[in-house]
């Protein structure tokens, strides 16, 4: 077997917090500093060891290998060091220690549309962006038509991109990048742009790249993309990487990490607000027929009791929603005061909602409950992971079997008929 296409050995990148860089951030400081303490300045120039306490290691002791044709997904929470690692590997910033060897032509895509100039036309930007990404003019000429077709901007080729809609802009930018033919492609979160259709197209294009046997290093918070594209994953945590894992195992560990803090009371959970204000959602109770809190049977009844506080400033048109999301962040169901209850309301300093769902036919799995408060102008508060909801097996189809969470999200009843000879019904259930 040939050498791995990427080898990282003990990579580390340190940033100086506060002092070192800031100290000489302006010329005046540099001059004053040089005059006041010439000796110290000299010492720091010869390479005096830096102040450990003020050193922040964005990544540390990172070692891993990637073989040709592998798609390695880097997963981890925000600030774990994924982006720093990609920046080091794409030579944007130099590591403080360690070494990485890349055996092939590298292209990195840390942002869609790097180097696009708003004043230039689509056609001109294709060439400029292509050149910045490392394509030869000849190569761009050859792929020009494909790029334009992929981006669906044929009509606007000679329009300045500053007049493009943001969707068109992103499509064009991704199209150029997608037609790079490097041996190693480094991609950071670029799929988080564009509409759903285009995202699907991008994923498809990335899939093609994978089929061509090229190597991809991929950072994303989109676990569905990680699951469908990656052959391996690395979990990045606190600037360090763990073992190579299978995508399923990596995603599981990542999700376990992101669930940390779920023990907090709802009042203290992280939330998104349109402006700084005291928490609105302060209590959530989920009861089903199973007898355990937060556990419901497939197809069973579930009741959500939500306590809200400190929102009497919402004078009119307020709405409240409960979303059920799966462990990959996709919304499965949504229950809304206006859609389901048929009402909007006035905020209050203390009030309670009760939402009863007669049947929640989800496939058995762990789910999350997201709470949203909004008015006609937009979201006021959103708690993405307000609580957990575990759906457990129940024989709703009367066959002793229901689809699993790998097979679908919801369990629908259906009637089956067959014109030939039917073998068994319930007896075989155990075998299947």
């Amino acid at each position: 077997m040939s050498k791995p296409i990427i080898t990282a050995e003990g990579l580390g990148k340190a940033y100086q917090l506060g002092t070192k860089l800031d100290r000489n951030a302006t010329l005046r400081d540099a001059i004053v500093h040089a005059l006041r303490s010439p000796l110290k300045n000299l010492r720091s120039r010869i390479g005096e060891p830096t102040d450990e306490a003020n050193t922040f290691w964005a990544i540390k002791d990172v070692s891993f290998e990637v073989n040709e044709g592998e798609v390695l997904g880097l997963v981890g929470r925000n600030g774990a060091g994924k982006s720093t690692l990609l920046k080091v590997l794409s030579r944007i910033t130099e590591p403080t220690e360690g070494k990485a060897t890349l055996r092939g032509r590298v292209a990195s895509l840390l942002e869609v549309g790097t180097g696009f100039h708003p004043e230039l036309t689509g056609r001109e930007n294709i060439y400029l962006n292509g050149a910045i990404l490392g394509m030869r003019k000849i190569e761009i000429d050859r792929k020009f038509d494909q790029i334009v077709e992929f981006a669906e901007v044929t009509k606007f080729l000679d329009t300045q991109v500053k007049r493009y809609s943001s969707g068109m802009y992103v499509r064009l930018a991704f199209a150029v990048a997608a037609h790079l033919e490097p041996e190693i492609l480094i991609v950071d979160e670029v799929l988080a742009v564009g509409d759903a259709n285009f995202q699907k197209k991008c994923l498809g294009k990335m899939g093609d790249v994978v089929k061509d046997g090229r190597t991809i290093l991929f950072v994303s918070h989109n676990m569905d993309a990680v699951a469908s594209l990656c052959s391996h994953t690395l979990l990045v945590q606190g600037g360090r990487v763990g073992e190579r894992l299978t995508p399923d195992e990596g995603i599981k560990q990542y999700l376990a990490l992101s669930n940390e803090g779920s023990q907090l009371p709802l009042k203290s959970k992280p939330r998104i607000q349109n402006k700084k204000r005291p928490p609105i959602f302060v209590g959530l109770n989920i009861t089903g027929e199973s007898g355990h809190p937060n556990v419901v049977e497939c197809g069973g009844k579930v009741t959500f009791e939500i306590e809200v506080a400190d929102c009497d400033d919402l004078k009119t048109g307020a709405m409240c929603g409960i979303a059920v999301t799966n462990d990959r962040g996709a919304r499965i169901a949504f229950f809304h005061t206006l859609y389901h209850g048929g009402f909007t309301f006035k905020g209050s300093n203390h009030a309670k909602f009760t939402c009863t769902v007669p049947s929640l036919p989800l496939t058995p799995n762990g789910y999350f409950i997201e709470l949203v408060m909004a008015d006609g102008y937009g979201i006021i508060e959103k708690v993405e992971r307000a609580d957990r909801l575990d759906v457990v097996f129940a024989d709703v189809l009367n066959t002793g079997k229901i689809p699993s969470n790998h097979q679908g999200y919801v369990v629908w009843p259906a009637e089956w008929e067959y014109s030939g000879e039917i073998e068994h019904t319930r007896d075989l259930a155990g075998v299947l």
Binding site: Y15, L21, N24, A25, T26, L27, R28, A30, G47, K87, V88, L89, S90, R91, I92, T93, E94, P95, T96, E97, G98, K99, A100, T101, L102, R103, G104, R105, V106, S108, L110, E111, T114, G115, H117, E119, L120, E124, Y127, L128, A131, I132, L133, G134, R136, K137, Q160, E183
Partner: protein, 302 residues
């Protein structure tokens, strides 16, 4: 072709042979990677092209601005220094003040754009520094390249007025054969400009003070290069003429002087061109290495 060759055709040479790319911390001065710059040469072309294209976008006059700027500056010089201050009489009888001023303004405009825009080229394009890798030296080089295109366009201005003054009964200006050397002066001018653009752009990333200092530097430097008024002003004072050699350390002083000598047949001191060009080369080498030394931190502090 032998039979063996036909039977065992050699695999075609791959177009691009990837060399192992090693990423690790480097210390001290870093060599300039000419091979890499050559590989990326088309990017430099596109950066210059972008600079030229974007500069006059959405202007009514477009490229005419490349001519109007030095022309207007020179006209101001004609009125203030040529007429009002009476420096016209310091020039040879065949040289109108407008030609004299243009011959200073055109190379100066190139240099000052290189200093101004070149010095800001990294700070203005931080998004490129933090998002993608390419030879960083290309950013200031691209801006200077764009300024070079302007320089070539504005040279036509000089030609137009030379022809016009040739038919003027007062001056009857006629260039000598030495005018063929004028284009050669672009070389030392470009070297000095690049050097300043490299050094200033790199230092501006760390010390944003230069954002304010650079315009000021340009002002002073312009006076030190005798762009608007003749050096004869200095020479007629026995005391001051003694110190002219000090000015020669400014590369633009010698280059503008040589420009006026080749184009307008005015007196010059060739030593000033030699000293200035040497300083320019030193500046350029220093600028490049200073740039390379600091470039690894650009993405961290930009």
């Amino acid at each position: 072709m032998t039979v063996a060759d036909a039977m065992f055709p050699q695999a075609p040479e791959p177009a691009y042979v990837p060399k192992d790319l090693v990423i690790q911390a480097r210390k001290g001065w870093i060599a300039i990677d000419w091979a890499e710059m050559f590989r990326y040469r088309e990017l430099l072309y596109f950066l210059v092209w972008r600079d030229v294209k974007v500069r006059y976008k959405q202007t009514v006059l477009g490229f005419a601005w490349a001519l109007l700027q030095p022309l207007m500056q020179s006209l101001i010089a004609v009125f203030i220094f040529g007429t009002a201050a009476g420096f016209q009489k310091l020039l040879p009888a065949t040289v109108p003040y407008l030609l004299f001023a243009l011959a200073g303004q055109i190379p100066w405009q190139f240099f000052s754009t290189g200093l101004g825009s070149g010095g800001m080229s990294l700070v203005n394009q931080q998004h490129l520094l933090t998002k993608i890798y390419f030879p960083r030296l290309f950013l200031p080089t691209g801006v200077v390249g764009g300024a070079l295109v302007d320089l070539l366009i504005s040279l036509s201005l000089l030609v137009i007025f030379m022809v016009a003054y040739h038919f003027s009964p007062t001056y009857h200006f006629t260039p000598t054969w030495k005018i063929v050397f004028v284009p050669l002066l672009i070389i030392p001018a470009a070297i000095a400009t690049l050097g300043m653009a490299y050094a200033l752009s790199a230092i501006t990333v760390t010390y944003r003070d230069f954002r304010f200092l650079i315009p000021f530097m340009i002002q002073i430097w312009m006076q030190m290069s005798f762009v608007m008024f003749p050096r004869e002003l200095l020479l007629k004072s026995p005391k001051l003429s003694h110190y002219e050699w000090l000015l020669a350390f400014n590369p633009m002083y010698g280059i503008i002087q040589a420009f006026r000598h080749f184009a307008l047949n005015m007196d010059w001191n060739p030593n000033h061109l030699i000293i200035g060009s040497t300083v320019g080369v030193v500046l350029c080498v220093f600028g490049m290495f200073y740039f390379r030394k600091t470039e690894r931190r650009f993405a961290d502090i930009a």
